[in-house]
């Protein structure tokens, strides 16, 4: 029996009785168990949330206790009376009730001053550096893809899931074919009855020399093996949790976790350069943050609901922060160092890293980074996912944080 067939059978709930399970080899039995909604050995899962466009960290977690902040941002600086204070220095933007609650519950870690030397102010270049964890250099493969290669060199299917309309460079892998889809309801071959035989057929690609053709045939195979699982998981998913206006694909992640997908790395994004707030950023930025905060807080509640909160950590980043001084258009231009966040039941909440100075800026009026963002990647790979040799993935050793309980 092929593994794929087993997955199907398990999902449709037919053909696997107690005797069926008893006769199966251990590996298969475990998979079937996972499909029944119970984790097999509770593997830890990392979810990465990308805030594309360059989130303004200073107006996200507002340093309301620092006069320099208001000097730099006389018009768009958020008044102390308007922030959700978490201590006598910092407070979240007014719509971020979710983050405030997570912080106060000790489930939200804030890492300050994340960036890299010689920062690029280009969205695409900087994002590529973050995707590859290779600043000022780049890499053919993404950091999440390389992490998958290192942890699971045998490349079991669906280890790496990217929910988006196109694949992120971050998940590009030498060994794995990441599962990429957008709408789970549509992630299916819509064929007619008569066509099933042909659609089910696997072709021998041994003689194919055209590299694009070979690529397409590989993707087709991956699509065939995963689409039924994803569609079924989403159809079964019903949650009373309110994710707000933009759920950032996090309910899809929960549906797959709940369905027992063997995925260890999920990658989702607030898409389309949304955080690129050059002009009149006030209302717009507040809205983006509210949506993000709502979705993240709901995600944790939802994980608790399915009993998997202990197994999942979420990491949030953006390709850069924004210029410290506001611009004349009531917005902010591209900047450098920024906040990163980690959220989860097992995350030890609080501040990490050194808060960058708002008075000692670089020559472009930007923050000078105090934390190499790869330290946070290394923390996730080693501290959370449990793979210790992070240097082989990140091409260098980076000091990690004690971030998990």
């Amino acid at each position: 029996m092929k593994r794929r067939d087993l997955l199907k059978t398990g999902l449709y709930g037919i053909g696997i009785g107690a005797t069926g399970l008893a006769r199966m080899p251990a590996l298969f039995a475990q998979t079937a168990q996972a499909l029944a909604g119970r984790p097999a050995g509770s593997p830890r899962i990392l979810v990465v949330l990308e805030l594309s466009g360059g989130n303004d960290g200073l107006n996200t977690l507002v340093p309301y206790g620092d006069d320099a902040y208001y000097r730099q941002r006389p018009r768009i600086g958020i008044r102390a009376s308007n922030v959700r204070k978490i201590d006598d220095h910092f407070g979240f933007s007014s719509g971020m009730a979710g983050f405030e609650r997570l912080y106060k519950d000790g489930k939200l870690a804030v890492v300050h001053g994340c960036g890299y030397a010689n920062p690029s102010l280009s969205h695409f270049t900087s994002m590529a550096y973050w995707h590859t964890a290779a600043p000022n250099r780049g890499d053919e493969f993404g950091w999440a893809g390389r992490t998958a290669d290192a942890i699971a060199p045998k490349a079991p299917p669906n280890f790496l899931v990217n929910i988006d309309s196109r694949q992120s460079l971050a998940v590009r892998s030498r060994l794995h074919t990441p599962l990429v889809f957008d709408d789970p309801r549509k992630f299916a071959r819509e064929g007619f009855y008569q066509e099933r035989g042909i659609f089910a057929q696997d072709v021998d690609t041994g003689s194919v020399s055209n590299p694009s053709q070979r690529f397409l045939l590989d993707v087709a195979r991956s699509a065939k093996s995963a689409s039924a699982t994803v569609k079924e998981a989403w159809a079964k998913y019903k949650s009373p949790v309110d994710y707000g206006i933009n759920s950032l694909d996090l309910p899809k992640v929960v549906s797959l976790i709940d369905a027992g997908m063997p995925t260890r790395l999920y990658y989702v994004a607030y898409r389309n350069n949304a955080f690129d707030t050059h002009v009149f950023q006030g209302d717009l930025h507040q809205r983006l943050l509210t949506y993000t905060s709502d979705a993240v807080a709901a995600f944790l509640v939802d994980l608790e609901r399915i009993g998997r909160a202990d197994d999942v950590a979420l990491m949030i980043f953006s390709e850069f922060g924004r210029r410290v001084p506001e611009n004349t258009s009531l917005g902010t231009d591209h900047g450098t160092a920024n906040l990163m966040f980690a959220a989860g039941k097992k995350v030890k909440g609080g501040h990490y890293g050194q808060v960058p100075s708002l008075t000692r800026l670089d020559e472009g009026d930007n923050l000078i980074h105090t934390t190499d963002f790869r330290q946070v990647y290394a923390t996730m790979i080693s501290g959370w996912l449990g793979f210790k040799d992070t240097a082989s993935i990140l091409n260098g050793s980076f000091q990690t944080f004690e971030m998990f309980s």
């Binding site: 549509k186 689409s227 309110d242």
Partner: protein, 601 residues
């Protein structure tokens, strides 16, 4: 006669002399024109596929009969060929009161409160929600512009399908991805249409003229916030993207160059659809840019950029990657840049050189490109012999689902292209798209008529049921974890109701924007098979593969397809099945279009 000709075409094509295996491997990177003696049907098909969106066997045969130089020139210098395409038919949704359109709903209500009027609508003299008509108008225009943009998009799709100048449209699509402006931010279909007209006008003309026209276009100025780039406080967005994305590529200038260039563009703005320079906001002082100093304005900055050797390399390389393949060698890219430079940035000689080169016909180029979603849709229609894009399935929804909605590029960098078009999910969607053409969904609901947003629909139902505005607009969800902050905050202003405005604006837009025609694809595959004089099922499968694919499926798949067709029509004899084979032929074509190889151009 026609029948005989088609038969000849069909028979000439059947032997498996596919382009993929033709042409010496030594042609890679060779810009020598392809010889007349090497010219054949497959190369002509490849040319039409890339320089346009493919075509019918008759159209390909017509090119194959020419010399390669004639065929290429016919495509590149298309101006002499008559092309009767209708102008865009405006619904008439815009009015002068909408200008200048404020940047947000809060800005509109603030303006209305201060001035007693906004968007051409006066604040109500009394009664409930005095700002409601203003807010309705605000949402009306947002919605109307979105809907009218969908009509512009259909108009363009119909041009791509019906044009006699395929390269004009293919280049317009290239420039749309290059100068990638999104209606979502511009919020004015007229500006989007104006930008498309520039692509049609200058697309194969002169790059300098196009670049300057773009820099002065209201669409681009609005998209890159140029309007707020003023003396003393330059906004860098516009200058940065001009260098990084439109001309030189990252790494060829400093942050200081960006700041200096931004100063030169200060004061550039638009009023409605007109470009203006606000002299008092323009910084006329000396700037030092890429090593030169002077009191430069925007056009002079562009000229300095065009003098940089890297600019021709960047543009020529990008055009090459769009038409040929992803990885030109640096030497080849420099040679192509030389062609562009010596033609003073006239684009036609570069296009001619590319399409005529042996490199273009080498095995590394032929059949290795992954079609973009728009390319996939348009070439599918053209290969079927359609004259316009069908209304079912919806062109915008279909291409958008596949990752390339016109006037909606994902970022200012446009679409990444290449392998990024394909994910497991999208590969399946491509097959589903083919099915929706061949077997139109009987439950199809026009997306420009039905509201996709549940929020608005719920409000509409409640208002019709006689509920008051406050009750009708109360958000519905809630429960575990409480109501999300965004839903609680949504809107409780006494002067107006945003949710109601959103519903009412949608309704008003629906009344005024003309509907998109919803005909299904006019396909008659039985007739196609009969006209081609095909005798048995093997010939049919081979004909379909030849007609629709540039790279055939692996052989075992081909045999399966023959078996499938035999099973469906109950015979191998086409004549016997003539009266009932249409459904089977459509299934066959759906299977072919679902093959991974169908995605290749």
């Amino acid at each position: 006669m026609l029948r005989l000709l088609n038969l000849a075409v069909a028979l000439a094509l059947v032997p498996a002399a596919f382009a993929q295996t033709a042409g010496p491997g030594a042609w890679q990177n060779d810009l020598t024109p392809i010889a007349r003696s090497d010219w054949n049907y497959d190369f002509a098909a490849h040319l039409l596929e890339r320089a346009g969106f493919g075509g019918t066997p008759e159209q390909i045969q017509a090119l194959a009969r020419l010399t390669p130089a004639e065929a290429v020139r016919q495509l590149v210098y298309f101006q002499k060929i008559e092309n009767n395409l209708p102008a865009f038919d405006h619904s008439g949704v815009h009015d002068p009161g909408l200008e200048p359109f404020p940047e947000s709903r809060p800005a509109v209500t603030k303006l209305a409160k201060e001035k007693g009027e906004a968007l051409g609508i006066k604040v109500k003299a009394g009664g409930d929600r005095p700002l409601q008509p203003v807010v309705n108008k605000f949402f009306y225009w947002l919605r109307a512009s979105v809907l009218e943009t969908q009509r512009v998009s259909y108009w363009w799709a119909n041009r791509m399908v019906g044009t006699q100048h395929p390269l004009e449209e293919k280049m317009a699509l290239f420039w749309h991805g290059h100068f990638a402006v999104n209606e979502n931010k511009v919020r004015d279909y007229r500006k989007m249409l104006g930008q498309l007209e520039l692509f049609h006008k200058h697309g194969t003309g002169n790059f300098r003229e196009l670049m300057i026209a773009e820099a002065k276009s209201p669409a681009m100025l609005s998209f890159l916030d140029a309007g707020v780039n003023v003396k003393g406080a330059p906004n860098e967005n516009f200058a940065r993207e001009i260098m990084e994305l439109f001309t030189m590529g990252v790494g060829n200038y400093t942050e200081k160059d960006i700041r200096e260039a931004a100063r030169a563009f200060t004061g550039w703005n638009y009023v409605d659809l007109k470009f203006v320079v606000n002299e008092e906001q323009h910084d006329d002082g000396p700037k030092t840019f890429l090593g030169k100093t002077g009191n430069f304005d925007g056009v002079q900055i562009i000229d300095i950029i065009l003098q940089q050797p890297v600019t021709a390399r960047y543009i020529a390389g990008k055009i090459y990657r769009y038409f040929v393949r992803q990885d030109p060698s640096p030497e080849l890219q420099e040679k192509l840049a030389g062609v562009l430079r010596s033609a003073n940035y006239n684009l036609s000689p570069l296009l001619e050189a590319i399409f005529l080169s042996r490199d273009f016909y080498s095995p590394t180029s032929v059949g290795t490109q992954i079609k973009s979603p728009v390319q996939l849709a348009v070439s599918t229609f053209r290969k079927m012999g359609l004259k316009t894009a069908p209304g079912v399935p919806d062109f915008n929804v279909a291409t958008g689902t596949l990752g390339q909605r016109l006037f909606s590029p994902p970022t200012v960098a446009g679409w990444s292209g290449g392998r990024s078009w394909i994910t497991p999910g999208l590969l399946l969607e491509r097959g589903n798209f083919a099915r929706d053409i061949l077997f139109p969904d009987i439950n199809f609901i026009p997306p420009d008529r039905a509201n996709p947003s549940a929020d608005v629909r719920i409000v509409a139902d409640k208002i019709r049921a006689g509920l008051d505005i406050s009750t009708a607009t109360m958000p519905e969800r809630g429960s575990e974890g409480g109501l999300a902050e965004s839903n609680m905050l949504a809107d409780r202003d006494e002067d107006f109701n945003t949710r109601y405005g959103s519903f009412r604006g949608w309704q008003m837009a629906l009344e005024r924007v003309k509907p998109i025609p919803r005909h299904t694809a006019d396909v008659d595959l039985s007739r196609m098979v009969t006209d081609a004089g095909l005798k048995n099922t093997t010939e049919v499968v081979d004909y379909f593969i030849r007609r629709f694919m540039r790279v055939p499926p692996v052989n075992e798949k081909r045999q399966e397809l023959v078996k499938f067709l035999n099973g469906e029509i109950g015979t191998t004899d086409v004549a016997a099945a003539k009266t009932y084979m249409e459904d089977a032929l459509r299934l066959l074509l759906h299977l072919i279009m679902s093959e991974p190889e169908y995605q290749l151009s």
